[in-house]
């Protein structure tokens, strides 16, 4: 397989996308492998055998991103028996033995489909740096802009020829400006939708499709002069870009961005809050063929009034998250959709003078469902006072490894940074195999 430098378009995305040594050899079968080993089948043939499988795999990722650092004590790792737990009570879930904080009753009903990781551990306590790290798997450095996981996965698994952008971010991008395609190029930046209630910016063709096409025709004809004068490649790139933009703006699939198209029952399930609506939009986008979607919830940086604020915030998120799991399951989409709930770090066990909790990366939690993950389990644990990992520490690279495992993406694949440094998709890290067994 050709090792492309990260800057060249991945032309053969359709066939090579998602090609990983493990999955590939596994599916070709003994005779295929034997024949390959004997040298009688070329790589091209092997790929041809597998091509249909690869296209069919069609998995997607939805990340529910809690910007600010959600407190593990008030989400999925409550400590009601300890001072550090504060006033937060724990409630039972449908899985005996697993209790979560009282603010999440709807999520509790779907615990059978959710795996909790309570032993996440990291060293970054700064919002910008931790957010960057939890999105790219690398600590930020001035010398290279790492591509976010969404960019990498949409590149490996996504369909480059699709009408819709393969990496979509829903919600405010405050605090998330460092998340981009990095050195893969701007083509892999997330496509931003600031509100689930409105269509994406500038996709409304006010004068109608026919007129747009006509005008594009005129544009292309007139550009011949400039192209001939020494800008031929630029004009070609520009035309291709406009063709893609036009395809998006005039696509029937754009309707996927319109949540008003859902039944009233479904809309009630997700609720009226913007996060819930964002989750509903995410489900629609997965159905429409988008590979990686991030739904953002802001406001989790509870340095003061931690308990009040989370109680309010959790309302919308609990509803949206639970609705998403239920909806995906009912539509038979849960196996093909990995859903990740997380933030950039956790919060301090010690409650500060403003009834708040401060940043705490030493131990925090997240939740994973779908995509082949076995729900109803807890991986790792924190100490009784919630101050550190008790067992099975999980680092950011381990998390990313696991995501790639679910999607059959090769973590060792390297891209070259603009300064010529080879960078793997995930640097080190061990997949949490318990998630999938």
């Amino acid at each position: 397989m050709k090792m492309n430098s990260g800057q060249e378009p991945y032309e053969q995305a359709g066939v090579f996308a998602g090609l990983s040594r493990r999955g590939f050899l596994g599916s070709v079968g003994a005779t295929g492998v034997g024949a390959a080993a004997a040298g009688s089948l070329g790589l091209r043939d092997l790929v041809a055998l597998r091509a249909e499988d690869l296209q069919k795999k069609g998995m997607s990722v939805i990340v529910l991103w809690m910007q600010g650092g959600p407190s593990q004590f008030e989400t999925f790792d409550p400590k009601p028996g300890h001072d550090n737990g504060g006033p937060t009570e724990a409630i039972k879930t449908v899985v005996p033995g697993i209790r979560i904080a009282e603010h999440w009753p709807l999520v509790a009903e779907h615990m059978k489909d959710i795996a909790l990781v309570r032993s996440m551990t990291n060293r970054e306590g700064n919002h910008q740096r931790a957010t960057y790290q939890l999105h790219t798997g690398y600590a930020p450095t001035g010398s290279v802009k790492h591509p976010s996981l969404g960019s990498l996965i949409s590149k490996e698994v996504g369909d480059a020829s699709h009408d819709l952008p393969q990496f979509v971010a829903i919600g405010s991008s405050r605090g998330l400006s460092g998340i981009s395609g990095g050195f893969l190029g701007v083509g892999y930046d997330p496509f931003s939708v600031s509100s689930p209630d409105r269509p994406p910016e500038n996709t409304k063709v006010s004068a109608g499709k026919a007129r747009l096409d006509r005008a594009i025709g005129l544009l292309n004809n007139l550009e011949g002069e400039f192209a001939g004068s020494g800008a031929g490649d630029r004009v070609k790139e520009h035309r291709a870009l406009y063709a893609k933009a036009r395809k998006l703006a005039t696509s029937k699939r754009l309707e996927a961005f319109n949540i008003a198209g859902e039944s009233e029952k479904t809309r009630e399930l997700y609720g009226d809050g913007s996060f819930g609506k964002g989750c509903l939009l995410a489900r629609r986008l997965v159905e429409a063929g988008v590979t990686y979607i991030e739904v953002r919830s802001n406001g989790w940086d509870t340095h003061n009034d931690n308990f009040e604020r989370i109680s309010t915030l959790a309302g919308g998120v609990d509803r949206g998250y639970a609705a998403l799991i239920a909806d995906l399951r009912d539509r038979g989409m849960l196996e093909q959709t990995l859903v990740l709930w997380m933030g950039e770090f956790g919060r301090t066990p010690r409650i500060n003078g403003r009834t708040g909790r401060d940043h705490y990366p030493r131990v925090f939690n997240l939740a994973i469902s779908g995509g082949g993950v076995k729900g109803g389990q807890v991986i790792g644990s924190s100490t009784d006072d919630g101050s550190s990992v008790k067992d099975r520490p999980v680092k950011v690279e381990d998390l990313f490894s696991s995501v790639c495992y679910a999607l059959d993406v090769d973590t060792d694949k390297e891209h070259n940074s603009p300064l010529g440094r080879p960078l793997k998709i995930v640097d080190g890290g061990e997949t949490m195999l318990e998630l999938f067994s």
Binding site: Q7, N126, H127, Q128, R129, P140, T141, G142, S143, P165, G175, G185, V186, G187, D189, F191, S192, P200, E201, N202, T203, K204, V205, S206, A207, R211, L212, R214, A215, L218, L219, N221, L222, E223, G224, E225, F226, A227, S229, G230, A231, G232, D233, R234, V235, E237, H238, L241, Y242, K244, A245, R246, L248, A249, H303, P418, L419, R421
Partner: protein
Amino acid sequence: MRRPGAIFHFLACLLTVFAAVAFTNRLFGEDDSPRSVADGVDRIISEALKAEKVETTALVSDEEFLRRVSLDLTGTVPSPDELTLFTLDPGPSKRSSRISSLLASEDYPETWGRYWRDVIAYRSQDQRFGIVREQLRRWIRDQLREDRGWDKIAVDLLTATGDINTNGQTGLVLAQMGEANELAAETSRLFLGIQLQCAQCHDHPYDRWKREEFHQLAAFFPRLRIRRKEGTEGGQRQFEIVATDSSARSFQRQQAAQGNFSKRYGDPSTWVERYDRNSDGTVSMREVPKALSGLFGRFLRAGDKDKDRHLSAGEIKAVASMAMSRPRNRGSGEHYMPNLENPQSRGTLIHPEFFVTRKSPGERIDDADRRQALGGFLTGKDNPWFARALVNRVWKELLGKGFVEPIDDMGPDRSPDYPEALDLLAEGCRQNGYSLKWLLSAITLTETYQRKIREPSPSPEAPSFAAVTCSRMSAGKLYRTIVRVLELRPDRFPGSSSRGRGPRNSLESNFERIFGFDPSTPTEDVAGTIPQALFLMNSPIITQAIRSSGDTMLARLLGSYKDDRLVFDELYLKAHSRRPTAGEWEIFSKYRKSVPDRGEVFEDLLWSLVNSTEFISER
């Protein structure tokens, strides 16, 4: 002479004449004048190209020249009137006169202020940077307006201290969070064009830089800190840069005292050995000497697990190792290179040294002295990289490609194209006090700058500068060009604040958000994006501005000229700064036949002009 005053009058006139002649000579003939350096650069490049038998493109027409140089020096396109006047001007030195007058205009510092701001801002790692972003732009603009030397600007940026919110000069330090390692990397990138940060953790894989050299550069910055200003609460975001010299000195006194203390009373691990008088394997408060009781008390509080008021050797060891795991270098005011094999340890003490010239300012000195010294070393005569980095960067900004690419990856291990030309410009710039106006004049006066564009050749060995490279406009230039061409009124748009709160959601900041990119990115890596295309294609701002009726530029034009040919020509002059070709008129005429409505036809044309590659290209 009949009147004594007449002599003086005569002499004064003579002096004025001499001054004028001297000035013109400076511009047009002395050794380090922009003109003579430009000629030297051209000579070097064209000789090399001739030797390789590479054909250069022709020089640009007057129209092309005016558009290119107006965008490059003042950030917007010329008006049709300016174009016409310029092309009709018969003067032989009109191009160089135009260069001088553009540099003298107010738009020059405005547009290049934005450029340098972006160079710093796009590498910012600090989420507070937004506080100082606008001040930084203004501060740079003010320096450029007076044509203050780049060396002075660099020193000011590096030695900035004090209040951040009102002082744009602090922008660079804030962008790198006031952190020594980050500042070292950025100083090297921006002012030397050398990528040193790979050497932070290991000797550079293929350049000559050693790890120690990186940390020696970082050692110029360990005594500064960014902190919240005294007396401000959580809500108000006020910050300042402070030097930690006094706490560094007290840290050192404390270290010395501890050293003496340990010498007298021994390492804690030896306490059981020394003070366990009743041989029960533990040490109690009664057994330790009085001077040690304070420290022992702290050890007891931290480590007396079984609460028996005695400390065993094991308990003592546990407390000692806990203390070790806390970083002991904080507050020391010195820079330590981490020990990669033993990250918990203190690391190696490193003193500041400038890796290019091996000069050092001394040891254990104050923040101001360190950073001032670094400023001096960077801009000194014996450091050729300062001028070279500047020249390379500005050359690339004007021609689309640098002598070395990427432009901030130079250094002794790279081979620039036409090194003599690079050095000629670098030396000239230095001789002229690192004047940016001088440098911009010298480059724009060259024939090399004035060549027509051509696609970069597919072969990487093909020599550069036989033609100029097509490149994309920055967000700021595109914004101003659109405002000018479509005669927009930005103050009329929702979100633009006249209350002095800053252009948070203004039209300009939207352009920045959608079209902005890091100016240090190589030209071929700057690609268009879908949101950009969607904006120009469909945004209500554009679609309304190009309408043929109402209070719009097009409506006014259609009203003024009944002859379609005139409207066609005028639109090309406005949007593309040139007259249309016969071929383009043909295409349009044919198109016109299929669309009966005059207004619609011209809307489509204007839409095409604004959405074209040519419109968004700087050259």
